[in-house]
Amino acid sequence: MLHSITPLLAVLASLAAVPFIILLKGRPNAREAVTFIAAGIKLILVASLLPAVLAGGEVEFTLAKVLPGAPLALRVDAFGLLFALVSSSLWIVTSAYSIGYMRGLDEHSQTRYFCFFAVALSATIGVAFSANLFTMYLFYEMLSLATYPLVTHHQDAEARSSGRKYLFYIMGASIALALPAMIITYQQTGTLAFSPTGILAGKVSPVMAGVLLFMFVFGFAKAGIIPVHSWLPAAMVAPTPVSALLHAVAVVKVGVFSILRIITGIYGVDLLKGLDLGMAVAWVAAFTIIVASLIALSQDGLKRRLAFSTIGQLSYIVLGLALLSPKGMTGGALHIAMHAFGKITLFMCAGAIFVATGKKNISQMTGIGKRMPWTMAAFLVGSLSVIGLPPTGGFISKWYLALGCLQAGSVALLVVLLVSSLLNAAYFLPIVYRAYFKPPVEAAWAEGRNEGPAAAWVPPLVTAACSLVLFFYPQPFLRLAQMAVAQLFGG
Amino acid sequence: MEEYIPLLLTKYNYWVYITLMMIGLWAMIAKNNLVKKIVGMNIFQTAIILFYVSIGAKYGGTIPIIQHGPGHGHGAAQIKALAYINPLPHVLMLTAIVVSVATLGVALALVIKIHRRHRTLEEDEILEQLRES
């Protein structure tokens, strides 16, 4: 166990940028430079923790002893580092994309936008590095609040009602379900520290354990499990970079990551296996996967379709974790990274199309491949990754998930995975087909390539390329996932 | 029934103060005129003052001024506490009376301010005015 202030600095790197962003609000270029510098520092700090963790160590730092047994403390382990790496590296790409998107559309209040984006990133890394449930809850709520001004950025009636829905689900669930569940857990155990063997074993009755588990699973509504999912489509009113980084990567994965911590750190594999609760959660997730995929089929708004796809994919992760088999859990953790690269690509493509053409609906995008070939190429790669086809990173995580199903002895869940993959293909591939192989709906599109500002379409190409690279070289994510799972199973 | 009669008779000071208190309370609740409410409040406070004064009294007690204290050539041992009524509640009530007078002053000042604004002291008329505005 290593004590170091680096985890704290990694969390604070983006928060520290906020005063500078406010000070430089009159000079946009300098202001965005601050964001880049902060993002760069953050990634370097997170990456600097990699050697220690890969060597099997953990890095920790205690801020303040606020509650006995539940200090405000950070601890970096393999799971947390995996998530932090994904978030902080994608922040850099998204920052570049934000500039292209926000300036391309001449959005108002850009200073506020970049401020809260930075705060949201701090909170995300905070969740990733939390040493106990209390610290995680703190950063979880911080993220909920920091995202609200981003979701409602347009300040119009639609943003207002979506913002309401967002708060209602996210804050409502966390206060009404997760908070009491956390306090009950503390009451029973006297601690909230994440431990590979869990802390609840032997402390609560089986019924209580089940009730608490579902209070947590639904309480962390950011994970988007049906029926606490409908904030996510509503949150699509946000500017696309927000949807891309926060509602495909940071915020939603914070939800999933919280459930991961509950399963691995609070309950522990043995307790869940003993009470058969893993399968219960797995089937809730399976239901979400199928239903969300079916709803996605019928959506015409591109971002809405992506949102429902995200809901389904998040439950893949939950499903993988709930399988409680080594391969399944590896797959689940790995899917955090793989889905992130795929889905952020898709969102950034949707935003690039909106910046270049002003189109939001799939039916209006017929033949757009002539106008924006590179963007649509990135979209294709992203789609393949989310569907889980080679040669993309998504294939690897799905492969592990499928193996995990078999390892857990559940063929039925394997069938769910396969059916869902077919549905994924059914709602993504037609978009690509229509874009490339149908005549353009707008005459101007036939005239040739014009993809809008480079800052809007290059970032998706970069992340698409990452998805491809991750197929051939899935490190360090695979290694981290395997290490983390090995620890759980006493390896 | 009979055992209550001595209770009623010997502890009559309690019944008096409770009755007075209730009269005051009733005036504060039921009267419509703000000044009458203030009068009720004063009765209420005075009832408690009487209660305190009465608990200091005792049969055969005299005012608490030491008659044959050390200065008069007698020993202190001769002072019999039983012969004097308890001065403390009375002293306390001096303060309480001051408080009650001050309360009355503040209340009347507020009433003047209310009257300037509404030209009436009837509560229902004031509320009517507020509802209209």
Binding site: F134, H154, Q155 | M41, V99, A109, L110
Partner: protein, 504 residues
């Protein structure tokens, strides 16, 4: 010097009040500096006392050298040392913030205003440090009378609201006095420590129960505990802004302190738990307070009135926690007393800043405020987070202890009401934020879809409150986070030592 702290806490503001009053006639300009000096000295003395008490244990101070129980004794332990420091500092910060507001609104009444202000604080500080039940009554009335006057200074409906407060407040104080009378009858003493000793053999007596009940009802009236809260929303809602931000955070909290003091120091928790069989009922009343306060707050269309109803709900938190009958609940109640004073101060002061600029606090006046007053709104947001109970603000931690207390007592109604109240607070504050964020200021078309776009380029000028109001506000907002992070030592060093052993 340091052994005189308990007296200095009360004497310096009292003398300052006299000087301020004189200056009001002769040199009105001197009023504010004199008041500042008086309260500053009191705050310094209170801080010194807190440090001293933490270092060497409880302090007993004999006024005029008279031995208790004959003379009046001030008794200061961790509990009132921290409340005294809290009262002194909040009053001092609010005094600084009140300068501009009083100059704007009551330029001709500077002398009387600051005299009343300092006297009110004197009374509160006295109530906190005194160890004498009757002395407490006198100080209570000093605070109340000056409070009525401070509220009555306001225009509009303020005098009527103040008069209603006066009626109910007088009944409350009289009940307290009556209760003390009964205690005096059975013991012949008024000193709290002495009372505690003399009362123990009398447990079981009906007179004692009556004394306890009457005292409590009086105190509940003063702290606006549901259903005796009727005076509070109007009184604090219509009060002048600097008055509201003085009384709302402090008055109810001081009364809660007095209740806890009576419960644990005059009587004992054993008495409260075993002789008084209505503990559960009181907790249910607290539940009703939380629920009713939240629902009434939902019905308001004015920021200050909404906040006033939130105060009613918050009183329910503290009374409920104190009556749960366990260590955690009492810890939560005391911790919430500290946190609630600061967070109520923060939100009422923010409302005062808004009033200073917009001359109103109704919801219509809040439009576009995030653009116009970003710092004030940021502080209001911080206060809101504390009231909702979001970590790392102090509000989260006191709620944490209260909920744990409820769970341990098996009182699910209390736990549910706490969570419900948190959820309603989310609704309440985000409704305010929505208006301030989405609706353009001064606009007749409040539903202009792209109001934000029109403001592009800073068409709406910044119109922040003066620095003398903003700095205390920022201090309060940061104080909330500091209090939250300091919860560990606060509970371990300050609160746990004073929780009586009788609480399980």
């Amino acid at each position: 010097m340091s052994e005189q702290y308990p007296a200095l806490i009360v004497i310096t503001p009292l003398l300052a009040a006299l000087l301020v009053s004189a200056a009001g006639w002769l040199r009105p300009r001197l009023c504010f500096p004199l008041a500042l000096a008086g309260l500053g000295a009191a705050a310094a003395a209170a801080t010194g006392l807190l440090v001293q008490v933490l270092a060497t244990g409880p302090v007993t101070y004999r006024l005029g050298g008279w031995e208790p129980p004959w003379g009046i004794a001030y008794y200061v332990d961790n509990l009132n040392a921290v409340v005294a420091a809290l009262v002194a500092w909040v009053a001092l910060f609010n005094l600084v913030a009140s300068y501009r507001a009083v100059m704007t609104d009551y330029p001709e009444k500077i002398g009387p205003y600051y005299t009343l202000y300092v006297l009110a604080v004197t009374g509160m500080l006295g109530m906190v440090v005194t160890g004498d039940a009757f002395n407490l009554y006198v100080l209570l009335e000093i605070t109340s009378l000056t409070g009525y006057a401070l509220i009555g200074l306001g225009g509009g409906r303020a005098p009527l609201a103040s008069l209603n407060y006066l009626f109910l407040g007088t009944i409350g104080a009289s009940f307290y006095l009556l209760g003390v009378g009964y205690l005096y009858i059975v013991t012949g003493s008024l000193n709290m420590a002495d009372l505690a000793k003399l009362l123990t053999p009398l447990y079981g007596s009906l007179a004692l129960l009556a004394a306890f009940a009457i005292t409590l009802v009086g105190l509940w009236m003063k702290m606006a505990f549901f259903p005796l809260h009727a005076w509070l929303p109007n009184a604090y809602g219509f009060a002048p802004a600097p008055t509201a931000s003085l009384l709302a955070p402090l008055m109810t909290k001081v009364m809660v302190y007095v209740m806890i003091r009576i419960m644990i120091s005059v009587f004992t928790v054993e008495f409260v738990l075993q002789e008084v069989l209505v503990g559960q009922l009181v907790v249910w009343l607290a539940v009703a307070a939380m629920v009713a306060g939240a629902l009434f707050a939902l019905g308001q269309r004015d920021l200050k009135r909404m906040l006033a109803y939130i105060v009613v709900a918050e009183v329910g938190y503290m009374v409920g926690g104190a009556w749960l009958g366990n260590r955690l609940g009492m810890t939560g109640a005391v911790l919430h007393l500290i946190n609630d004073a600061v967070m109520t101060f923060c939100v009422f002061l923010a409302a005062g800043c808004i009033y200073q600029k917009t001359r109103g606090t109704s919801f219509e006046d809040l439009r576009g405020l995030f653009k116009k007053m970003p710092w004030t709104m940021a502080a209001l947001a911080a206060g809101a987070m504390a009231i909702i109970g979001v970590p790392p603000t102090g509000g989260f931690f006191s709620k944490w202890y209260l909920i744990r207390g409820g769970l341990e007592a098996g009182h699910w109604g209390f736990v549910g009401a706490l969570l419900f109240s948190s959820l309603i607070n989310v609704v309440l504050f985000f409704r305010v934020f929505e208006i301030a964020f989405f609706e353009p200021s001064g606009g007749d078309d409040s539903h202009g879809g792209h109001g934000g776009h029109e403001e592009h380029g800073g068409a709406v000028a910044l119109a922040e409150a003066p620095l003398s109001m903003l700095l205390p506000l920022m201090a309060a907002a940061l104080g909330l986070i500091a209090l939250g992070l300091a919860t560990g030592p606060l509970v371990q060093k300050l609160i746990l030592p004073i929780i009586p052993a009788g609480l399980g």
